[in-house]
């Protein structure tokens, strides 16, 4: 068996790991009795997928189990795949493992996967956050023996401010510059729709212009009942029309040729990475908005305390620091070396 387990810096007090029926591999987590993979990065016959981001949901699997929303997102991105929709709270049985999907609060359709087998409960979070998000159900903590958590922002410097204060800065910049537009870089799946909904919730009802790469995902969100008000394509519009408006694009288009068509844009970016000045400056961002779909340091540590597992496994991100924190808080933990996670397209 190939187990790429990163040795924790400080030895775990017990030599025996629990739940031998779960195997972390660089390419995903293998659930042996169910002969199924969670978020595999290579095509597999049977895949359990937590959410639709590309570093978790890949194309080419034989059969996929995921929420209805995640399946729709995967169909949009990779074409039709054979899949079984699993509702939140619904239980499915697979080779002696009881599997259920629990809201993770990350993006539309995102789920933690709860696995029960041989008297042990394992929760794989995928990606998650604890803050309210108008586009998806909130994270539900599930008591378990093994908690497999992400650690994208697993450093104490990452403490996301209140979403409201960030939106106020965005609207403030818009108001203060009547002859410009604010161009917000936001990931095409999740962040873009969340930013739009947060704007609407603050009474911003002007039309919002969107880059072509966001159109289909926004339409899909709307099909699932997420109301985003009036969206207009940013292509084929005279620059002047977009003054005093918010324009959304994927981060890659912020400094690209595409943005030349905009009326003297104020470049903003909505991401947890914006907390660090140098990261924002590297991307030529003038208005960094610290809005993240991942748990920040306090949420990660609070969640581990709240779930109170016997063991915590850390999948990807700044796992070293979170591992250290677990050790110093008498929480048994280990870091898994997972490949291909924390893509640029996240945060």
């Amino acid at each position: 068996m190939m187990t790429h387990l990163a040795e924790p810096r400080h030895p775990v007090p017990s030599s025996a790991h629990m739940a031998h029926w779960i195997e972390p591999h660089p390419n995903g987590i293998y659930v042996r009795p169910a002969d199924a993979w969670i978020d595999p990065s290579l095509p597999q016959e049977r895949a359990l997928v937590t959410h639709g981001h590309a570093d978790h949901a890949r194309g080419g699997h034989g059969h996929v189990w995921a929420t209805r929303e995640t399946l729709a997102i995967m169909a949009l991105r990779y074409g039709t795949a054979s899949g079984t929709a699993v509702g939140y709270g619904e239980e499915i049985r697979m080779g002696g493992v009881t599997i259920s999907y629990v809201p993770a609060g990350h993006v539309l359709g995102s789920a933690q996967i709860l696995l029960e087998h041989a008297g042990e409960r394992v929760v794989v979070t995928g990606d998650y956050k604890r803050r309210p998000d108008p586009t998806c159900l909130p994270f539900e903590p599930v008591p378990c023996d093994i908690f497999v958590t992400e650690a994208t922002f697993g450093l104490p410097v990452f403490r996301h401010p209140d979403t409201g204060s960030e939106m106020d800065r965005l609207l403030g910049a818009l108001q203060a510059n009547p002859d410009r537009c604010v161009l917000v870089g936001a990931y095409a799946l999740g962040k873009a729709q969340r930013v739009i909904c947060e704007l609407r919730a603050r009474g911003h009802h002007e039309a919002i212009y969107i880059h072509g790469a966001l159109e289909r995902m926004c339409a899909l969100y709307q099909e699932f009942g997420v109301d985003m008000g009036e969206l207009r394509p940013a292509t084929g519009v005279v620059a002047k029309e977009m003054c005093e408006h918010i324009v959304l694009s994927p981060p890659s288009a912020l400094n690209d040729r595409w943005s030349r068509r905009l009326p003297d844009p104020i470049t903003a970016m909505a991401s947890g990475w914006m907390r660090v000045r140098q990261r924002a400056r590297q991307k030529n961002v003038e208005l960094p908005l610290v809005i993240s779909d991942h748990a920040d340091w306090d949420e990660l540590t609070d969640t581990i305390r709240e779930v109170a597992p016997t063991e915590t496994w850390i999948t990807h991100g700044c796992e070293e620091a979170l591992l250290h924190w677990c050790m110093t808080h008498q929480i048994r933990a280990r870091a898994l070396a997972m490949a291909g996670r924390e893509d640029e397209d996240e945060g």
Binding site: L155, P156, R260, R281, Q282, E286, C318, A321
Partner: protein, 527 residues
């Protein structure tokens, strides 16, 4: 503190100069006294808290956080002040990530001035608890001096001047008569009192500048010729009791060249070129390359001063004692300057010699034959010209040495900033080694027209073979004719060469890359 920390953040994230000026101007108009005066002091580098050291920050954070987590965070973030600002764990009873408004900038300044070295960590920590991450960053940057938010003292003063419709040169004139928090300055700017009297203080006078020579010739009976030296233009202002050195931008650079400031004890204002002596040049002026070792330093070591000894080659005498000579013709000022030289130590000051030429043609020959590393070209000064601020037509001309050129091959490209952030506008180019490899010899981001830039941008996008973060490697097919003022040996680059002022002179679409110049060929141009 909120207004000041917002100002700092704005200055960090805003790229355009005008945007930065507008931010400073708005703050200066809106912030209360004496906060804005202290902010002006901070932005111009005039704040220093003797008893607060960087070690106080380390001590403070170690008392509050897990040292391992702190080190991991610091490795990730880089900057100490920012790391501490971001991970600062507040006391439970303090509102999280909120600036509670209880601290004013001036309150913080008073506290930092009054604190002892031993009490500094606790005093800082107590203030940190009342601030949000931006405020904590601003506090730590203030406390340890050196805001490093990408603006010069001159830019801060320009922003201040803009706020109240003043001329920045007027602000410069009175500046050294004042001290933080500049109450008299704000009183004057807002019309509550008259202009502060700068008499007796070593204040900056705006430089006289030259136009590039475009005419085919000038009459040497009207114009005097002297060498244009390739150092940095500097103004020496002495009151008899104090001497300051100013750069062309009006920044006080006395701290970088203390040996010059100490050597000048007179009561006068002089204009000259700051140079360093080079061994290779037999103790004569070395190339700009050598001078660069001394630039941008707040303080300087004894070794730097002995390795790169500085001196000033004098061009002009603006004021002698109480006599303002600026309205006099150049020829009169020149005589006064020549006479003045006698009282200056010769190891630190010499006179910029005039070039004696029978006529313009003879001058052109002399210019063409000049091979001195420190010569940038020739200056032509109207013999009757007064010393006036800025560039005035027909008074002074600069006639630079013809640039050198080389045909190089584009190797890498990077995006520019601001308006150019969507264009690949910074190009690294190389020349051939004997082994048939391309070695980078320089980087240029100017010289082309807007149309050419569009073409170059398209070329980069269509010929990318590799990406390294923001850098694109391109197919080695495009020849660029690069113009540069001079070329020097450099240890910093693999090719061993560094160009001065490289710019794209022409795009040689007609020339195959294999016919571009060689590194060996470039080495022969080293001055």
């Amino acid at each position: 503190m909120r207004a000041f920390s917002k100002l700092l953040d704005g200055l960090i994230y805003t790229r355009s100069r005008n945007g930065k000026l507008a931010l400073i101007a708005t703050y200066m108009r809106e912030a209360p006294d004496p906060d804005r005066g202290w902010a002006l002091a901070a932005l111009t580098g005039n704040l220093d808290f003797k008893s607060v050291k960087a070690s106080a920050i380390g001590e403070m954070i170690r008392a509050r956080t897990d040292p391992v987590l702190f080190e991991m965070s610091r490795d990730y973030v880089g900057d100490l002040a920012e790391t501490v600002a971001l991970l600062w764990p507040k006391n439970e009873d303090q509102p999280a990530e909120v600036d509670d408004g209880s601290l004013s900038l001036s309150g913080i300044i008073d506290r930092l001035h009054g604190v002892s070295r031993a009490a500094a960590p606790d005093a800082l920590a107590a203030m940190m608890d009342h601030l949000d991450a931006s405020g904590r960053f601003a506090l730590l940057k203030l406390a340890t001096g050196g805001l490093r938010v990408g603006i010069s003292a001159r830019l801060a003063k320009t922003g201040f001047a803009q706020a109240f419709g003043l001329d920045v040169d007027d602000v410069e004139q009175v500046w050294h008569a004042l001290s933080p928090p500049y109450t008299a300055l704000f009183d004057w700017a807002e019309g509550r009192s008259g202009r502060p009297d700068p008499e007796g203080t070593p204040y900056f006078r705006p430089f006289m500048l030259a136009h590039p020579l475009e005419a085919d010739s000038v009459d040497l009976t009207d114009y005097a010729a002297e060498w244009k030296w390739d150092g940095i233009r500097i103004q020496i202002v002495g009151t008899g009791s104090e001497t300051r050195l100013y750069s062309r931008a009006g920044d006080d650079i006395s701290g970088s060249f203390p040996e010059i400031a100490e050597a000048f004890t007179g009561h006068a204002v002089l204009d000259g070129e700051l140079l360093v002596r080079g061994e290779v040049q037999g103790g004569e002026a070395a190339s700009f390359n050598a001078l660069q070792q001394r630039l941008g330093r707040k303080s300087v070591t004894a070794k730097m001063m002995s390795d790169f000894p500085a001196f000033v080659r004098l061009y002009d005498l603006l004021i002698e004692g109480d006599d303002d000579l600026r309205a006099l013709p150049w020829s009169d000022r020149r005589s006064r300057l020549e006479a003045y030289m006698a009282q200056l130590p010769t190891n630190r000051f010499d006179l910029s010699a005039l070039i004696e030429a029978a006529d313009f043609e003879a001058l052109a020959d002399i210019r063409a034959g000049a091979r001195d590393a420190a010569i940038e070209g020739v200056m032509l000064k109207r013999r009757d010209s007064p010393y006036v601020a800025g560039r005035k037509a027909a008074l002074w001309y600069k006639w630079k040495r013809d640039p050198l050129t080389a045909d190089c091959v584009m190797m890498y490209a990077q995006r520019g900033h601001g308006k150019r952030s969507s264009f690949y506008s910074d190009y690294t180019f190389g020349c051939w080694t004997e082994g048939g490899e391309l070695l980078p010899v320089g980087k240029a981001y100017s010289g082309f027209t807007d149309e050419e830039l569009k073409w170059l941008d398209r070329f980069v996008r269509q010929n990318t073979v590799n990406r390294f973060g923001p850098v694109r490697e391109v197919e080695k097919t495009l020849v660029l004719e690069v113009a540069f003022d001079s070329i020097h040996d450099s240890k910093r680059h693999k090719s061993g060469l560094a160009m001065r002022f490289p710019r794209i002179a022409r795009i040689r679409k007609d020339k195959p890359a294999s016919e571009a110049d060689t590194v060996a060929g470039l080495k022969r141009l080293v001055s």
